[in-house]
């Protein structure tokens, strides 16, 4: 009984069984790095947007410069730059730290931009009304402006966060044992595409729920168009 060539090359059962533990371990690495990136990237972005609301000219320029650079340069360029560049000046970071650092900085830049747009979109009257009730600047920001601003930022922020989190796959290029890395290593070792299929499916398994959640958030927090 001959199995189809397709199954043999892309979904061979005995290889699925052999590599499932490896792929699962790799999924854990991906999830760990992704979670750290989301936490530190969003925190960085929010912090910078808050700093920007004080409107200190020099600091504003620095923040905008950082944001623009990280929005314009491809993440893979940054990953290679940090990974191969830093050891030359005596700084040795493990590859997963490099991946975390670069992706956090990329997400931080994008998140700052979105949070700042959200803060700007809150009308001036809200600021004035809050201040006139006796709230200080920081209180106004925290209790009046931010809650309204963040609502507006949820849909774009979710989409960009998902896209940047998927960039954990770039770790395969510098040897982080995440899903793609483990899958390609296995594929070239055994000369069969089954591990690649498993890797792609692992991503679908991890990210489909997030994509669907993002879609739901998008409609839930949609802009009310006039």
């Amino acid at each position: 009984m001959q199995r189809s060539l397709f199954i043999d090359s892309f979904l061979r059962p005995e290889l699925i069984a052999r590599y499932t533990p490896d792929i699962l371990a790799a999924m854990l690495v991906t999830v760990e790095i992704a979670a750290l990136v989301v936490a530190s990237g969003l925190a960085l972005g929010l912090m910078l947007a808050l700093v920007r609301s004080f409107r200190l000219r020099l600091i504003d320029i620095l923040i905008v410069a950082y944001v623009d650079v990280f929005r314009a340069v491809p993440p893979l360029v940054l990953v290679l730059l940090v990974f191969f560049g830093l050891p030359n000046v005596g700084i040795n970071l493990p590859s997963r730290a490099v991946l975390w650092l670069v992706l956090s900085l990329v997400l931080g830049a994008v998140a700052e931009e979105i949070f700042w747009a959200g803060i700007l979109s809150v009308r001036k009257g809200q600021w004035e009304a809050a201040r006139s009730t006796g709230l200080g600047f920081a209180q106004t920001l925290a209790y009046v402006v931010l809650p309204q601003a963040i609502r507006l930022t949820v849909p774009p922020l979710t989409n960009r966060t998902i896209a940047i989190t998927k960039n954990t796959a770039l770790g395969s290029v510098i040897g982080v044992p995440e899903i793609l890395n483990v899958a390609t290593t296995a594929e070239s070792f055994i000369g069969n595409a089954t591990p690649l299929t498993m890797g792609a499916l692992a991503y679908v398994l991890l990210f489909i729920p997030v994509v669907i959640l993002g879609r739901w958030l998008e409609t839930r927090f949609a802009w009310r168009r006039a």
Partner: protein
């Protein structure tokens, strides 16, 4: 400090590798010239299919969009380039890149067009149809021009992402800018060629990033 300049901003190394990196830039631009129109056209098809009358078509397209939004572009690229040979198809790295980006970008552009089409009121369709325009004509001459205008910042910003994404082609050895710069890096044992590539990306994309950021703020205001 000296070491940092030596390792990252070494002008003589940058000057030496400039021709190679610029040749890579040429390939990057060629890839962009192919994948951006492909993605824009594919996205349009996806968006129109999302508005199809048949429920089955809509469900299949929605599932495909979610699938391609869930799989990282690099995974898709590697799957196509390293996987297809096992099915007896051997795409060149250029073809693999175009195919992977067509699939990935159509999903993203498609979502953007769809949001734009949804932002156009039903009345525009009805009015266009009542003047005697067919469905295709109504879509082409009435709805799409308005829809595209409404989502222009998103379209431009996604195009910036596509240009940045072309750097992934280096992983399948397509000699675009990052690939050339990384080759130069491994020959010179110095990170300056990659800094050079980063600077070229910056010069290329910074004006667009500024533009998008201004368009976005205008929409938000």
């Amino acid at each position: 400090m000296d070491a940092v300049i030596q390792q990252f901003f070494n002008v003589s190394i940058m000057a030496a590798v400039l021709p190679v990196v610029l040749r890579g830039l040429g390939m990057t631009l060629i890839v962009c010239a192919v994948v951006i129109p492909l993605g824009l056209a594919g996205g349009l098809l996806v968006a129109l299919a999302m508005g199809a009358r048949s429920r089955a078509v809509r469900t299949v397209v929605a599932a495909l969009i979610d699938f391609f939004r869930a799989v990282p572009p690099l995974v898709l690229l590697i799957f196509i380039h390293a996987g297809l040979p096992f099915a007896g198809i051997r795409p060149t790295s250029f073809v693999s890149v175009c195919l992977a980006f067509l699939l990935n970008n159509s999903a993203y552009y498609g979502e953007i067009y769809r949001a734009g089409i949804e932002s156009i009121g039903r009345g525009q369709w009805d009015a266009a149809r009542s003047t005697g325009l067919g469905t295709v004509q109504a879509a082409l001459y009435v709805v799409l021009p308005q829809a595209v205008r409404n989502v222009l910042p998103d379209l431009v910003s996604n195009t910036v992402e596509v240009v940045k994404l072309t750097s992934l082609a280096s992983v399948v050895a397509l000699p675009e800018m990052l690939y050339s710069a990384d080759m130069a890096r491994s020959l010179t044992y110095n990170a300056s060629p990659i800094v050079l590539a980063a600077l070229i990306y910056l010069v290329l994309l910074w004006p667009v990033v500024r533009l998008v950021s201004r368009m976005e703020h205008r929409v938000a205001a």
